[in-house]
Every structure is written in C-alpha cells, then in structure tokens.
C-alpha cells in the first residue's frame, strides 16, 4: 500500500470535515496564482496576536529546545503564552489528522522533521499561506514553498555517533556499512521511522542509496530500538549503547558541548539531510499569534538562537555556524527528496517493521 492512496482518503475527509475552511475546494487545485506578499512584524500584527494571547505549537524538535524557543518568544512578546505539543513527527502527523477528522483545531503552527508532511497537508488544503519577510528576502528557493505555504524552520542531519568512553576514535565506524561488522552486535541503538520524521527521511535516503540490504543486515545486529531521533544520543550519553546508527545531530552536539562522552561521525557514504519546515494551519484558532510566531521564528536572531541554543542548522544565510562545528556545505550529505518520502512512507514503515519486528 502506498501513502498516495491513504492520505488522499484522509485529507479528503479533512476537507469535508473542515467544510467551512477558507480554502474551500482548494484541495483540487491547491496552487494559488502567486505567492502571497511578504509580511513584516507590524505593531498591528503584534496587537492582534496579543489579543489572542495564546498559541499552540506542534513540533517534533527535541523538547528542551522547543521549550526554550517558546520561552524566548514569550519573553519577546509578553502577553502571549505558548503551548508546546512535542512528539515524533510521524505521531504529530497522525495526531493532526485524527484531530481534524473530529473537527478539533488545536494546532496553530506546525513544524515537522518530515518535509513530506507539508506536501500532504498542502495538498489537503490544511495550510494557510504566509511568507515572513526574512523568508522572502533571504531564504534560498530550496527552503521555501513557491506558494508561500511553508519554509524550512530548521535543518538537521542524522549522523552516526559513538560513546567515547566505550569506543576509541580509531575503532569507531567510518560509515554505515561499518555498522554491519559483527563487533557491533548488541551495541547499536537506533530510532524508529514510524515515530520520527528525521528517521523516516533518513531511512528513505539510506534505502535508496545503500539498498534495503543494509537494513536487512542491520536488523540482525540486535539493535536497541527507540522511538525519537533525539533518544539515541541520550542513550549514548547514559552509556547504554556504544554506537548510534541514526539519530539527530543537534542533540549529539548539545550533549557533547555539555561534556558528555559522545562524538559524531559523518559517514563516508554521506549523511542524511533533514529539513524541518514550519507552516500555519488554515484552521488555526489563533491566526495572528501564529503569524507573529512564524515571522519571529524565521528572523536572523531567532534562527541564530536555534543554532546557538538548540544546535540546529539554519537556512538563513545571515546565521553563523557554531564555532568548531563543520559547516553544512562542508559535509557530504545525501539528497533529500520529500516528494519520494510522501509516496513511499507507508511502504517504508511496513518494510521496516517486517525487518526490525517493531
């Protein structure tokens, strides 16, 4: 079963359920004539946002990072309280779908580490167009939707990493194929594509470039299976496993900066690249607060904070990379293909479950 058929069924229901949605029958022809004009943060917008006074942000970014960003926004615009709903991107996707079917419009702004979700939501007419000034002026075309529905709020990688107390640097795997060595049996931790958008995206890229044989062999290494891409680095810090086969880069960087015994490896085969776009929901209950947050979150200052505090990477060209960390351009990355993920996600999950049994 491909994802094509099911989300259609689902999104059609969403649209029916949300029959009063401003977009109306837009799902048939979701593409609008021209992208909407870029929006500045105006006093009027701030005023309208403060009148709403609250905002719900569904995101898959690691919880401590998400809460820090929420606190920074609340500090920048006192009077607006932010609720963070954090879960794995695949869970968020399912949750929003389920809520929309029941006509529950809790989510104002959504951020997913599976860029394919944005494609599906856009197709379903579930997003509201909004182009923050910084996105219009600075973001490269690859990191924004031509119709102004979403833009890359964050970028991350899914590197290999190891616990430096348990593994010497010279013994560490250099790439994904090295993980298939018998010496790693029972020592690997990895996250799940049915939960994490980062891992879903990475699995699509790795299965395309290395073939499913890689996963077939990896599944025989007695892998410890966790859910979130943020968890494998934490399991390394605990000393629970020696190596992670996948997981999110920014948590590795953060733990390393805190002095935990952990180091990343950018695989010789290339490291999966994951963009995490953000969008405003068409049925947002707090549309102005949603616009204000989105506009703020794309500014150079907020994006710089993503990098400095969250160790995320940014599509904003004015943002400086963390000192001592290689620039994105200097790392060999695998090509991201959100449209392919949108088509293959179900097949990937099914195949993955057959191999790893969970």
């Amino acid at each position: 079963m491909t994802r094509k058929s099911t989300p259609r069924r689902l999104t059609r229901r969403h649209v029916l359920a949300a029959s009063a949605a401003a977009t109306g029958a837009a799902f048939v022809t979701p593409v609008q004539a021209a992208p909407p004009e870029a929006q500045k943060i105006t006093p009027a917008l701030i005023e309208a946002a403060k009148k709403e006074g609250k905002l719900a942000w569904y995101t898959s970014v690691d919880l401590p990072v998400a809460e820090k960003i929420a606190k920074a926004f609340e500090a920048a615009y006192p009077g607006i309280s932010m609720k963070v709903e954090r879960s794995g991107a695949e869970r968020i996707f399912q949750r929003i779908g389920q809520e929309y079917q029941s006509k529950i419009y809790n989510c104002d702004v959504v951020n997913s580490s599976d860029a394919a979700h944005l494609i599906v939501w856009k197709r379903g007419g579930m997003l509201a167009p909004f182009v923050p000034e910084d996105v219009a002026r600075y973001f490269p075309a690859a990191h924004k939707d031509p119709d102004g529905m979403y833009a890359s709020w964050r970028i991350t990688l899914s590197p290999i990493a190891y616990n430096t107390k348990l593994v010497k640097p010279e013994d560490a795997p250099k790439g994904f194929i090295d993980l298939l060595d018998p010496k790693w049996v029972g020592k690997i931790v990895k996250a799940h594509p049915g939960y994490s958008g980062t891992i879903m995206t990475a699995t699509q890229q790795l299965s395309r470039d290395l073939g499913w044989e890689y996963f077939e062999k990896l599944a025989k290494q007695k892998v410890m299976q966790v859910q979130s891409a943020a968890d494998p680095p934490k399991k390394l810090a605990l000393g629970e496993r020696a190596v992670m086969a996948d997981g999110t880069e920014y948590v590795v960087t953060t733990l390393k900066a805190r002095g935990e015994p952990i180091a990343e490896v950018y695989a010789v085969e290339g490291t999966p690249l994951i963009t995490g776009p953000s969008a405003i929901m068409a049925r947002a209950a707090n549309p102005n607060a949603a616009r204000l947050f989105t506009a703020w979150s794309m500014t150079a200052e907020a994006q710089q904070m993503n990098v400095d505090v969250g160790a995320l990477r940014s599509a904003h060209p004015l943002v400086k990379e963390r000192p001592g960390r290689p620039k994105l351009a200097d790392i060999k990355t695998l090509r991201e293909d959100a449209a392919a993920v949108a088509d293959q996600a179900d097949a990937i999950k099914t195949r993955y479950t057959q191999l790893f049994k969970v």
């Binding site: 609720k83 859910q227 979130s228 968890d231």
Partner: protein
C-alpha cells in the same frame, strides 16, 4: 398504591442509558469495525490477517507466554509471602502487608521505567554495581531488562500484590477450628499446613493466578516501555501501533476481540474458583486462626519479605530519586553532583506539566465522584431489588471488568469520534473511559457494603413516608460513608495511574500525566519522567492518606468485619 412520586423508574432508565453509552456502544462499534473493511463493507478479512500475519500471530503468542509466566511467578511469590504474613508469627507482618499494598500505588509503566534505570544491560545501576563488585567486563551484563524475561519480571513486580491480597485475606478468614482439629488429632504443624491450609487456600490461589493472568494479558504500559526496545510486540502494544499513521481501526478492533473474549472466559473461570472457596469457609463464626511459630526461621522470613519488597518498592524508588536529582540517570548522585535541573525543567520550562496536572486532577476527582455515586446507586438498586430489571444493571456494572483498558479506549474512540456524540477531544471521553474501567470494582466494593446494612432501617424510613431516594440519602448513605470514601480513593488512585485507555483517547488539550510521562519516555527525557513520577505517586499517597483519615479507620474496620463475617 398512590404515594409521593417515586423517582426510581426514571433513575433506572437514566442509569441504564448511561451504561449503554459507556459500555454497549463502544463494544458494539468494536464488533462492527472488526467485521468491516476500509471502505465499510462486510468482511472477515481482519480476522484472517489477525491469525495468519506473523506481525499479529507473534505478539499473540508472546502475550500468552507472558501472561502464563507472570501468573505462575506471582503465585510463587504471593503464596508464601501471604502465608507468612497471615498465618505465622513473622515479625513486622503488618508493615509488610502495608508495604505490599503501597506498592500498588506505583503505576506499572513508572515501575518499568524505574527498572530500566536499574537493569538496562549497560547503563543500569545494578549492572554497574555488579561490574564494580566482580570486575565483570564493560560489555557484559548481569541483567537485561530489555528481554522477554525482563518484561515478565517487571510485570510480576506490580501484579503479585493483587494475588498477595487475595491469598492473605483468604488465609485470614480461614477457620482456625479446622487446623485445631487437625493438630488435636495428632498431625504435626507442617502436616496441618499441607493437608488443611493449602487445600483450603488453593481455590483462592487459582483465582489469584487468573487475576495475574488477566493483568499481564491486558497491560499496556510496561510492554510499551520494555518490549519495543527489545524488538518485540505484545498484543496491546500492537493494537496501539495500529493507531499510527495510516490508522487501521478495523484491524485494531479485530485484534481487541481476542483480549475481550479471553478475559470474559477467564472471569467465568475465576468466578467458579472463588465460588468453590465460598463453599468451604462461609457460614458461622469461627475462631481466630492459629499462628504458626517460625522459631529460628523468623528472621530469614523477614529477610525474604524485604527482598520481595525491594523489587517493586525500594529499588525502583531509589532509582527514581537518583534520576530526579541527576543530570544523567546512569550516574549515582552525590551531594556535589545533585542538581535541581530536572525540577526546574519540569515545573518552569515544560509547558505541558501544569495543564496535564490540572487535567489529571480534575479527571481523578470527577471520575472518583461520579464513579462512586453511580456504583452506590447501582449497588443499592440491585441489593434492595428496588426496581424490575435490577439484575441487568448489576450485570452491566460488572461487564467492563471484561474490557481491557486499551480495548475500551479503541471502542470509545470508534464510538465518539462521530456524531451525534462527538466527545473525542474533550475531557468527557476520558471521564467516561475512567468511570467505565473502575465501575466493576467500585460496584463490587459497595454492593458488599450494602449487604452489611440492614434493610429494616430503610424500611423504617419509607414507612415514615420518605421516598426511596430520600431514604437512600438520609439513612443508607451515612451508614455507608467509609465504604464510599474507600471506593472514592480506589477510583482516584486508579485514574491517576491509568495509561492504556488514555493513550488512545487523549488530544493535545486533554493530555493527562500518565500520557505526558509516556510521551517523555519516547524522547528519552528521563529526568523529567522521574520528577513527574514522584509527583504522581506523591499526590496519590497524600490523597489516600487524607481520605483514610476522613473516613475514620474505626468505622471502616467494623464495616469490613461485617461485610466479611
């Protein structure tokens, strides 16, 4: 006979309608869905998948292995411990009994998380300790909690108290005369135990084994935390996984039915087992059972009890405290390294903490209140045979016992995500779920309490012209006060720790503490989990202690004695 308007018929109809909403509708939809394909056509395909697809057959077999093992393990622990506490002069027997009961306050999924901290193969505190003591190499492990054995052990830790309570209570009540007769006829102490005590206790033990089996069969939290990292599913986690995208409610419904049917059958078996025991020991007033002198074995017995209690209680709470005050849960804290970071994060940064606490508290109080009142009403109607059709109410009130939490969650989800009653996304659906799940136990508690109150008192009230409801309010209810408070507490505790139905039914606005902890677990935020778990157990303990004081132990004791006598 004409008299003041008696509200009993409308009440009966209202209660019956409520029970339909709570039980019949969800189970009905479950059956309908299990027989439908994706587009709503009739099919048996879901069941074919269920019994042929290895991704369903394997979890089914695993679940049965777990349930049988847990059941045996629980009996092996609970029977000797229950006997020591009830029938011997073991020191501190009363404290041991209280502590075993106290371990029931721990939600099983919190216990599983704590055991991860203790016995994860590499980072587990016990494994680290063992390495230090024996010099075992770093990549070997004494204990591996991420395994079938580990899961069975952890489930047994939080299930054996149920068996223990049954066994200890049965042994308390066992007539001393039979044992006296045996020893008068010249049998030695151990012969008496073997030939009188054990056979008399056997039906209870069998019933306990079934309770443990059912618990293990239907548990969601512990398997979700331990089985998935180990690379296997149980039936409950598999059902839950069907709600990931793309959701397959038809398969989830089909997979729920074996749990439902098995539970119904086992409950029948349990009723038969307990029925036989009733034959043996009911009737007449017996003397206090004679305590067996342990002599030199006294202190080893206390030691054994302490070792048993370490598993659900001492060790897990030590691990939770350590983790709550530490940056990295796998390191033992000292005065220098202890940090309040996790508390700061949980209460000052984590924006879901306060809403979840509020929702949980609101739901626990309202479910306990509604549940206790509803159970009281039904128990009254049934006990006094107040209206025709009372038997149906009794049956409906007990029926949810046969519905596992996750199955009820699925059923309610299917029933109330559609008009006319779209309750999904509100706290109401959780309220319905919690009241339904706890109703059978509440009803049983209160109906046994009713048997202790003489109907004459009510009849006097009615003769003086009061309506039935007024008699109930003015005469019966005050007499049942302590039983009602005990029931209220029981539901309150159960709601706070409920995860399996909540995990299917919550939305971001209706998140409860147990679901928040579960969410945090998935991203590995162990410190916040430890803090929240301790808060959860703290609240529960305080409420139970306060309610016990309010209820008055003297009163409760008398009622208990009468209900039992």
């Amino acid at each position: 006979m004409m008299r003041a308007f008696d509200a009993s018929r409308p009440v009966l109809i209202a209660v019956a309608a409520l029970l339909v909403v709570m039980i019949v509708l969800p189970v009905g939809w479950l059956v309908v869905y299990s027989l439908s394909d994706k587009d709503g056509g009739a099919t048996l395909g879901n069941f074919t998948t269920l019994f042929t697809d290895p991704t369903f057959v394997d979890p089914l077999i695993t679940t049965l292995i777990i349930a049988v093992s847990v059941s045996l393990l629980c009996c092996a622990i609970a029977a000797p411990l229950g006997w020591l506490v009830a029938r011997t002069d073991m020191p501190f027997a009363k404290s041991v009994r209280t502590l075993v009961m106290a371990s029931l306050v721990t939600p099983p999924f919190v216990g599983a998380i704590a055991w991860e901290m203790l016995a994860a193969p590499n980072s587990g505190l016990l494994n680290q300790l063992w390495r230090v003591l024996t010099g075992m190499p770093a990549d070997e492990a004494l204990l591996d909690i991420y395994s079938l054995e580990g899961l069975i052990f952890v489930i047994a830790c939080y299930t054996f108290p149920y068996v223990f309570i049954l066994v200890a209570n049965a042994l308390d009540r066992m007539p001393g005369e039979l044992e006296d007769a045996s020893s008068m006829l010249g049998a030695k102490t151990w012969d008496t135990a073997r030939r009188i005590t054990v056979p008399l206790a056997l039906p209870t033990l069998l019933a306990g084994a079934l309770v443990a089996f059912l618990q293990a069969l239907n548990l969601f939290g512990s398997p979700a935390i331990l089985a998935i990292p180990a690379g296997f599913h149980t039936l409950t986690t598999r059902i839950w996984s069907l709600f990931q995208f793309p959701p397959k409610p038809e398969l989830a419904a089909a997979a729920s039915l074996p749990l439902l049917i098995l539970t119904v059958l086992l409950l029948r078996a349990q009723a038969m087992a307990l029925g036989r025991r009733g034959y043996a020991v009911l009737g007449g007033k017996y003397g206090e059972p004679r305590l067996i002198r342990l002599g030199a074995l006294k202190w080893p017995a206390v030691g054994l009890a302490l070792v048993v209690l370490a598993m659900p209680l001492f060790l897990p709470y030590a691990a939770l405290f350590n983790s709550a005050f530490s940056r990295v849960a796998s390191r033992i804290i000292s005065v220098e390294t202890a940090t309040l970071h996790n508390f700061r994060f949980t209460f000052l940064e984590l924006s879901s903490t306060m809403p979840a606490l509020k929702n949980t508290f609101l739901l626990a109080v309202s479910s306990a209140t509604v549940g206790a009142l509803l159970a009281l009403l039904i128990a009254y109607i049934v006990a006094r045979q107040a209206v025709a059709g009372h038997r149906v109410l009794g049956f409906l009130a007990t029926a949810p016992l046969a519905i596992p939490g996750i199955v009820l969650g699925v059923g309610l989800f299917l029933a109330y995500t559609r008009p006319p009653l779209t309750l999904y996304g509100t706290l109401w659906i959780l309220l319905i779920a919690f009241v339904t799940i706890e109703l059978p136990a509440a009803y049983q508690q209160l109906s046994s309490a009713f048997h202790a109150v003489h109907p004459e008192l009510e009849e006097a009230g009615r003769m003086l012209g009061a309506t039935r409801l007024r008699t109930l309010a003015d005469i019966t209810a005050p007499l049942l006060r302590s039983a009602v408070i005990a029931t209220w507490c029981f539901i309150f505790v159960a709601v706070i720790r409920e995860l399996s139905a909540a995990v299917i039914l919550f939305t971001s606005d209706t998140k409860v503490l147990s679901v928040l902890i579960f969410d945090l677990k998935e991203s590995g935020d162990v410190g916040a989990i430890a803090v929240l778990s301790l808060v959860m157990v703290g609240i529960t303990t305080v409420v139970v202690a306060a309610a016990n004081r309010l209820g008055g132990a003297r009163n409760a004791g008398r009622l208990h004695a009468r209900a039992v006598g």
